[in-house]
């Protein structure tokens, strides 16, 4: 039976996006896994050659729907650094609020998909029902449900009035109630534990060596979170990264679940401290010149933008290193040795976003 190669994906019931894995299996045990890509490659980095640097904000938002707000945020922060623009304090806090709303809905989406990968349909439905409230907040405050398009160079495009912030807080209380009701199921249920404990474990040193980011890294005991860099208004808010030690699928699930509460806490702090003032500063002067690296924490982990500009309308080079791109190599280490039936769970545990990976 040696040398059976099983193509997993690109169309597979558990996969939200087209990732192809060539699994070499022996008696239902995975021996090696080779990822293959190219199904959703759009060449968005190349688009920087023909779209000017302001239009690129809307382009980078579409690298990935689920982290769109933070993609644009990272890009705008990079350009602001290049152009020497300081966004207003209100804009910085509003960016935190929308970033955390994005993290909330991304993690709820992931928890739902993860439950679906385990075959736990009722949990999946329930979590997505809770998520719908966040989408409503997004639409009411930013105008769109998923691709918020709120960032501009120098600030944000939308503002929140006091009625809206009060409504957000009351909705968040409902969201918190909704996912807290699921906490016993997610954290202590027999089915969940049986499917996730000890699966796809990565030790601390392995995770560091493989360059994992975000919840993957934190589940393996490394306390690293780009929000600690203090970009936007994170430097003025109190939080500590959620860290778990086991490094398996269950630990990743726990990290993401705990981050739901953390995000709600951050939104509450940001609304409480929301300073008055303008939401953006006018951008004057020449187009940017020089090179810069900007980083931010997306729901899936660290995102890195490298921007090189030459003072013209078009950027010289825009490089986007998305979190899934950094987490995919870990799959080639986690998958060998596990049963074929566990592949969906381990695969989903990195929160794969293939649109991000291929751009």
């Amino acid at each position: 039976m040696a040398g059976t190669i099983l193509p997993f994906g690109p169309q597979h019931p558990v996969l939200p996006e087209p990732l192809h894995l060539n699994l070499q299996i022996e008696d239902e045990i995975v021996v090696s896994a080779t990822p293959a890509f190219g199904y959703v490659h759009r060449g968005l980095e190349k688009l920087a050659d023909i779209r000017d640097f302001r239009q690129m904000i809307q382009v980078v938002e579409r690298v990935c729907g689920i982290c769109s707000m933070i993609h644009a945020l990272t890009y705008c922060q990079g350009l602001e650094e290049l152009m020497g623009i300081e966004p207003t304090p209100r804009a910085r806090f509003l960016r935190v609020i929308w970033s955390e709303l994005h993290r909330l809905h991304s993690h709820l989406l992931w928890l739902g998909l993860f439950a679906d990968a385990m075959g736990f349909e009722s949990l999946f439905m329930q979590l997505w029902k809770v998520r719908e409230r966040i989408m409503d907040i997004n639409e009411a405050t930013a105008g769109n449900r998923v691709i918020l398009s709120v960032n501009v160079i120098g600030g944000v495009r939308r503002d929140l009035d006091s009625g809206q912030t009060a409504w957000i807080l009351s909705e968040l209380a409902e969201v918190e109630k909704g996912f807290s009701a699921m906490s016993r199921t997610i954290l202590h249920d027999y089915t969940v534990q049986k499917r996730t404990r000890g699966k796809g474990a990565l030790s601390r040193s392995q995770a560091m060596e493989l360059g994992c980011v975000g919840p993957m890294l934190r589940a393996s005991g490394v306390s690293q979170d780009m929000r600690l860099l203090g970009y936007a208004a994170y430097g003025e808010l109190e939080f500590a990264p959620v860290v778990e030690q086991d490094g398996d699928c269950y630990a990743r699930c726990r990290v993401r679940f705990a981050e739901l509460g953390q995000s709600i806490g951050l939104i509450r702090q940001a609304i409480a401290k929301l300073p008055a003032g303008d939401t953006s500063v006018p951008v004057k002067g020449r187009p940017p010149a020089g090179e810069v690296v900007a980083r931010a924490e997306q729901p899936r982990g660290e995102c890195l933008y490298y921007i090189k500009a030459n003072g013209g309308k078009f950027l010289d080079r825009l490089r986007i290193r998305t979190p899934t791109f950094a987490n995919i190599p870990a799959l080639t280490v986690m998958l060998p040795g596990i049963e074929l039936a566990d592949v969906p769970v381990v695969l989903l545990s990195i929160d794969p976003c293939i649109s991000c990976t291929e751009r």
Partner: protein
């Protein structure tokens, strides 16, 4: 405004990257900037405790030593650069031979500039 980066050449690359690994740095990514006929510039990014360090490698021609032997995670980004810029990484495992994103038979690497990096549009 430029990024502070140590300039190295391809002979020193592996030693310099191994030194980063010995320090316990996390490999972030490689950025290829402006490849054309004369060569290319590669930026290696490493992170340690939220601080980024960079290496700047100027390549003449299109042959680069792979760092897969040091950081195995580099295979994905090196394959991507092979696809997009047409560079060749020596010792890359697994080597997709420019089929990571491309269909395989394409001739010109899409991100590569035809002439100097200054010619835009």
């Amino acid at each position: 405004m430029t990024i502070e980066a140590d300039r190295i050449d391809s002979v020193e690359l592996c030693r310099a990257v191994a030194a980063f690994k010995a320090k316990g740095c996390r490999f972030v990514t490689i950025t290829c900037v402006g490849a054309d006929q004369r060569g290319a510039e590669l930026l290696y990014h490493f992170d340690r405790e939220l601080a980024l360090s960079h290496l700047r490698l100027t390549v003449a021609g299109d042959e680069v030593p792979s760092i897969c032997g040091i950081y195995s995670a580099a295979f994905l980004v090196e394959n991507e650069i092979q696809d997009q810029f047409g560079l060749r990484f020596n010792g890359l495992v697994p080597d997709y031979r420019r089929t990571l994103f491309l269909a395989g038979e394409d001739s010109l690497p899409p991100f590569r500039r035809k002439s100097g990096p200054d010619q835009e549009e």
